[in-house]
Subunit: 357 residues, 2 copies
Amino acid sequence: MTLRTLLLSATASLGLAAQAFAFEPLTIIDQGSFSAGGTVTTEPGSFDHRSPMDTAGQSFHGDHAYAFYQVPEAPRSLPLVLWHGAFQSGKSWETTADGREGFQTLMLRRHFPVYTIDQPRRGRAGNSTAAAEVSPMAFDQLYFDMFRIGQWPEYFDGVQFDGSEETLGEFFRSVTPNTGAFDPEVVSDGVSALVDRIGPSILVTHSQAGGPGWLTAIKNPDVRAVISYEPGSGYVFPESEMPEPMSGAAGTLEPVAIPDADFQKLTQIPIIVYYGDNIPEEPTDLFGLDNWRTRLAMARLWVNAINARGGDATLVHLPEEGIIGNTHFIFSDLNNAQIADLAAEWIEAKGLGGLAQ
Amino acid sequence: MTLRTLLLSATASLGLAAQAFAFEPLTIIDQGSFSAGGTVTTEPGSFDHRSPMDTAGQSFHGDHAYAFYQVPEAPRSLPLVLWHGAFQSGKSWETTADGREGFQTLMLRRHFPVYTIDQPRRGRAGNSTAAAEVSPMAFDQLYFDMFRIGQWPEYFDGVQFDGSEETLGEFFRSVTPNTGAFDPEVVSDGVSALVDRIGPSILVTHSQAGGPGWLTAIKNPDVRAVISYEPGSGYVFPESEMPEPMSGAAGTLEPVAIPDADFQKLTQIPIIVYYGDNIPEEPTDLFGLDNWRTRLAMARLWVNAINARGGDATLVHLPEEGIIGNTHFIFSDLNNAQIADLAAEWIEAKGLGGLAQ
């Protein structure tokens, strides 16, 4: 029995017949998970074995990052750290909502070791030193609009997102709440500790992770490149040369001032930023779309600021390259294999794609 | 370059030198993740693209389970569903706190397809229809006592748990909070939906998952066997024949009444329950230990009740088999490869270990 027939029969016997594609076997030479960074707090008093539900004298571990990693055979030397956006966890990068391979597996196939993380205070890294109230937030339609699948309930023509009800349900179920306030310093500290542990690596950030991704690269010289899909907050600029805030239907987007010397560190590594389709260039009163108009505009200023100071930043607005229909989740869209190729080719072009010796 | 030397060099270049063991390559013929079950709620009113931060007319997806799965080459036909306990997520089953292979990988090596889940309202399945306050709970010393690593700060002699500070820190960081009230019906509904999707399978439950594991097996005839490591709550009994509650230093353990016909369903599948070491047989005022005295005693009654009604339940108290030093986390203890062998051998003995055709 060949692996392929074994695969097909196993897939069928596992009831996974809905998967229309055949999975090519992968050889994994290491996998596992761990925590990185975080803090320990301790309550005053003495611990009593006889009343341990009293927290006196007890400690708490929180604010760490969680990572699940896999190393494929013939690995490249620099692993990818896949860092989800707001309302999301590592699940963002796994199987797509319509059941195809996500970036995690696509990048293993391209011989990158892959670390898929849950940032501090999210998902499996839920222990937070800051308390939070978690309430169900009915935001599915906000997500549909804001993540540019369409304008609820209409899908954009040609959108790179499967139109079935099942897919949309699975997409909405990738949402998971913060278990403590989102804090760019806390999450970048956690990811920087992860980079300390794994060594030189490439950050791949999405949306809300954009901002703390820059902070991580500033904190840790072992971040050797950053690929950012639609960074959505935390556009850092040198405090001596701040752009104006940008206002629109989704509120005011404030650039974040950082010391010039910190900004300068971002000029030392190659950076690429991707934005997808259906982002208006002119103001509109549609919140979910206008949100990205200002962000794309700010990203253009940001890339220019990096390059004006000697850096190597590229902004790719995919429709300008003839790649159309991408949502805010570029890396899990219907064309995500092409998107993965673009990323791998960029890494190679920057001389960072070599195999481990 | 052989895979082994590649592995060693890759491991070194990834800064994973702390891992003392060499990982044998694994061939994976499918992997990915998905959600299962859950509900959808909708707010009254109409959604407005111009004010989407208002939840009017918007829906919410919550209370689903999350699973990451892998299928090894030459897979057995029945996959394992690895279901964590209280304060834990799927991380329980991944790399052990001291960096060895956890049950997830150990069972792949034994040719089981493995589904590692986060139950509804936990980890990556954090969206809950019930609101929750999440506060840092300083319970590290409670865990140390209750999970029978020792009596803080002393480790038990011969405990199957690495004594380094690093290991203990990593262990504590596997803790992650509920993002909605723990509800045995909600979590068993989620896992039953997962079993509907994947077909006939074997549940492997830990601690708090014990009770909802029985409920899942009652709800879903595709649960073909249950392996339960130290079930800690939800001991279900036929309502016509209830045992007395059991009291001790950790409070009163109440058996849970269910319809006789439901209990009878548990007699239709093989079940094995494991308990580890350092559980006192006589009452003690030490909370973390006495907690398990009553639970082990209740488990004995439970297994007897199953078997008295024609079932096939086995209770293995590991020290009675000469296997000593196990904590509450039997499957990640230092002897977890032996524990994995015991589970695989039991599955085979029950005629459920065959390969997929």
